[in-house]
Symmetry: C2
C-alpha cells in the first residue's frame, strides 16, 4: 500500500471544478465534478488522488485520518483581488456616504483612498502586519486559502516597498498563500495633484525598476530555501479622475518589460476603454467591469483574460448596478469573484458573501459561483494549475462545510458555513 | 458596599438607546447614550446601574468581573420577526429563482411556503426542535438575545399546536428568550385551495379558540414555577394571493377578543391597505412595508404601531426595492429591523447583516440601525421595558464586540463582529 500523510473520509459530497489548464469559460463554468462518498489522499501538502472511499482505503496507508463527518467538501477559495494591507478605518466616511456624499466626491476632498494612504505611510511595518493579519485570519475562517493583495496605500517608493515587505513576510508567516500585486497607480498622491503625469513618470522610472526586482527568501518545511520575486503583478486603477487609458498603458507596458504580469481596475464608475487595453496587453485579469459595454465584454469573453467581478463594491456603496456577469458568461467569458477587501468601499473578508451577492444580483448559479471562487479565481492570479481544484497534483487546500450541500454557501448568507479549513493538507482554522 | 453578581469593566464605549417606555420615533432614533469607560452592575440577571467605572467600583462589591478588554458594548439584539421553526431546506427552489422563477410563481405551483408546510407537518417535535436549535445558536452567536418566532408551517390545528410546543419548549431550554406568534394565516393550505374562506373559518372558529389558550409551565432559577400563556401575538400574511384585507380583519379581530396582541405582514409584493388596518386595530407592529404608499406610511408614522423592515427579504430575492425607511423615519415613524429568517426568501440568522443592508439600501445611519435592532425591536414584540437597552431595571443582555466602535457593525459586513454574548448576565456564547 502507498504511504500518505492524510486521508479525508466521510465526505457527503466532494464538489470541485475539474483541474483545468486554463480558466473555465462560458457554460463550462457550470460543469462541476460531484462525488458521493469520495476520499482524498494527501502527501507532502498535495493531493495524490481523489476517488471512491473503498478504493482509496485499500490503496493508501495514511498516518492521519480527517473525518469530514458527513459534510460537503470543496476546494479552498482563492480571493483574486484584495487591498488587504492597510492601517486604520474609514467608519466616519462610511457615515458621510450614507448621508449622501458620493465615493468620488469624498476622494476629491482628500478622503477616500488618500486618508488610508496618510495612515499607512505613517505606520510602522509591524503595525501594518498586525492589522493585516487579523484580516487574513478572518478571510481564512471564511474559507480563503490563497489571496492576492495589492499595494497602493503607499504611493511613494519607500512606502510601497514597505507594503511589498508586509505582504511577503505575511506570506511566509501566515498559512495563507499570498500573491503580491504592485498598485503604485492606485490614486494620484496629494503631492502630485497638480501634475499627475509626473507621478506616472515616477511610477515608471523610479518605482517599477526597484519594486519589480525585490526578492525574498522562502524557506520550505524541510529547511531548504530559495529566493523568490516579491511582486508577481502590476495593476492600475484606470478610472475617470484617477489614471486614464494612456497613462495606464504606459505603466503596464513598462511593468511587462520588467517581467510582471498584468491586472487592471476598469469601468467601476465610468467606462474608459480599459477592458480593450487589458485584452490587447494580454492581462491575466481585468477587474470590476460594472459599466463595461457589450462590445468590450464580448472582446473580453473571447480572450484568455479572466474577468473579475467584485460585487462587494457596488453593495458596499449601496448601488444596484453590478457587473453584468450573466451576459458575460453567456457570451463565453471566464469570470472570477473577489472581495475587493478594502477600508473604503467593501470591508468584507468573506468569499461566500460574494457568492451570495453574485447569485442574487448577477444571476450566477451556485455552480458558476463555485467555479468563480476556485479554479477561475486561481487562474486570475496565475495559479490555476496549483490551487482551485480538488484533483491529483493540486495543493491540498480544502474546506469542510457545515452542510452536506455546497449550494447552501449561496442559498444562505450573512453567516459562515465554512467549518474546517485545510491548507496544504494541514488544519489552518 | 452593595453586593452584586457581575461587574462589567474595561468597556471602550458603552452604546445604547435610552430606556424608553415606548418605541423611539423619528429623529429620536438617532439619540444614543454613549459612555466611555463605563461599567455595568448586574444582579439577578438584571442591570442594577450603569455608570463611570470608578464610581461603580466604589459602590459595588461583585462576585464576578467581566473584562470587556477595551471593546464596545451594546445591548443584545432583539429579532422581532422570524419564521425560525421549520424543517428541511429549499435550496432547489433557490436555484429555480436564480433561473428566473418568481417567488409568487413558485408558491402558486405548490412550492414555496407549502413545501415547507409538507415537511414540517410530517416531522416529529424532536426533529423540529433540533433543526430550530441550530438556528437559535447561530442567531445568538450573531448577537440576538431575544427573538420572536411565528408558527405558520403547520396550517392545521394539530401541526400548529406542535409548533407552539416547539417554540415554548425551546424558550425554556435555550438561553434565548422567545416570543411566540400564531401565524395560522401564513398561507392557504392545499386542502383549502378552492375555498380560502373556509380556511379562515377554521382559523377563527377552531384554531384560535384552542391555540390562544395553550399554557406552559415556566420554571425560574430558584425553582419556583408559574403558568404562562404559550402564544403572545397573532399575525396574518395580508398579501395578494394569500389573505385579503377582509379576511385579515376577521382573523385579527377574533385574535384580539381572545386576548392576543396583533402583528401583520403587509405590502411585501403589492400594496393592499393592510397598513391602515394595522393602525386601526392598534397592532403592536406591522411588517415588510416595501410597497406601502406615502399616505399609509404617514398614518403609521403618527401611530404607536412599530414598523418592521425586513431587508433580508428583498435581498434574498435579489430585488432592489426596499422598505422606504429613510422617508418613514423622517415622517416621525418608529422603525425596527428583523431578519425574517425563513427557508424561502431569507435564510440569514444575522441581525448585523440586516443593519448592513439597512444602511446601504434604506439610508439608515448606524445610530438608527442600532435603535432599530434593540429598543424599537423590543417594543415591536411588547418587551421594550424589559430588553433592548442598557439601563437600570433592564435585563442584562449585552454584547462585547470585536471592535471599539459600534458603527463597525454596519460599516463592515458579511462577517461576525460580535465577540461575546451575555444573556441575563450570563455568558451564552
Amino acid at each position: 500500500m502507498d504511504s500518505i500523510d492524510t486521508l479525508v473520509l466521510n465526505i457527503a459530497e466532494l464538489v470541485t471544478p475539474p483541474a483545468s489548464e486554463k480558466a473555465r469559460h462560458g457554460r463550462s463554468m457550470r460543469e462541476l465534478v460531484r462525488k458521493n462518498d469520495a476520499a482524498i489522499a494527501i502527501r507532502g501538502g498535495r493531493i495524490v488522488a481523489v476517488g471512491p472511499r473503498a478504493e482509496m482505503e485499500s490503496r493508501f496507508q495514511s498516518k492521519q485520518i480527517v473525518d469530514a463527518q458527513g459534510c460537503a467538501v470543496v476546494p479552498g477559495f482563492v480571493d483574486p483581488h484584495t487591498h488587504a494591507v492597510w492601517v486604520g478605518k474609514r467608519t466616519d466616511e462610511f457615515e458621510q456616504r450614507i448621508a449622501g456624499a458620493t465615493y468620488m466626491e469624498i476622494m476629491a476632498a482628500g478622503g477616500g483612498i488618500l486618508s488610508t494612504v496618510r495612515a499607512t505611510r505613517e505606520a510602522k511595518l509591524d503595525q501594518i502586519m498586525a492589522e493585516t493579519k487579523t484580516r487574513l485570519d478572518r478571510m481564512m475562517a471564511h474559507g480563503t486559502t490563497t489571496a492576492e493583495i495589492k499595494t497602493g496605500y503607499g504611493l511613494a517608493l519607500e512606502s510601497e516597498r514597505k507594503l511589498v515587505d508586509a505582504i511577503n513576510i505575511l506570506d511566509e508567516e501566515h498559512p495563507m498563500d499570498l500573491v503580491c500585486t504592485f498598485l503604485g497607480a492606485h490614486a494620484i498622491p496629494p503631492e502630485y495633484k497638480e501634475d499627475p503625469d509626473a507621478y506616472v513618470d515616477m511610477v515608471v522610472e523610479e518605482m517599477l525598476p526597484e519594486i519589480a526586482y525585490m526578492v525574498y527568501r522562502v524557506t520550505l518545511r524541510d529547511g531548504r530555501s530559495y529566493q523568490r520575486r516579491g511582486v508577481q503583478f502590476c495593476d492600475v486603477f484606470c478610472e475617470q479622475g484617477v489614471f486614464d487609458v494612456k497613462q495606464t498603458r504606459r505603466i503596464l507596458e513598462s511593468a511587462r518589460r520588467h517581467g510582471l504580469d498584468l491586472k487592471l481596475h476598469v469601468d467601476e464608475f465610468e467606462p474608459m476603454g480599459g477592458t480593450s487595453l487589458a485584452v490587447e496587453l494580454g492581462a491575466t485579469s481585468v477587474d470590476h467591469l460594472v459599466r463595461t459595454g457589450e462590445k468590450e465584454l464580448r472582446l473580453l469573453a473571447n480572450s484568455e483574460t479572466v474577468g473579475v467581478a467584485l460585487p462587494g463594491t457596488p453593495f458596499g456603496l449601496g448601488h444596484t448596478r453590478f457587473t453584468p456577469a450573466r451576459a458575460f458568461i453567456d457570451m463565453g467569458g471566464a469570470l472570477a469573484l473577489a472581495t475587493d477587501l478594502n477600508p473604503g468601499t467593501s470591508w468584507c473578508e468573506s468569499m461566500p458573501m460574494m457568492m451570495a451577492l453574485a447569485a442574487r444580483y448577477m444571476g450566477m448559479t451556485p455552480a458558476e459561483c463555485l467555479t468563480a471562487v476556485t479554479i477561475n479565481a486561481a487562474h486570475a492570479v496565475g495559479l490555476g494549475r496549483q490551487v482551485g481544484a480538488l484533483a491529483a497534483g493540486y495543493q491540498a487546500d480544502f474546506l469542510v462545510l457545515e452542510t452536506d450541500d455546497y449550494r447552501d454557501l449561496v442559498y444562505r448568507y450573512g453567516v459562515n458555513l465554512v467549518g474546517e479549513v485545510y491548507k496544504r493538507g494541514v488544519s489552518a482554522v
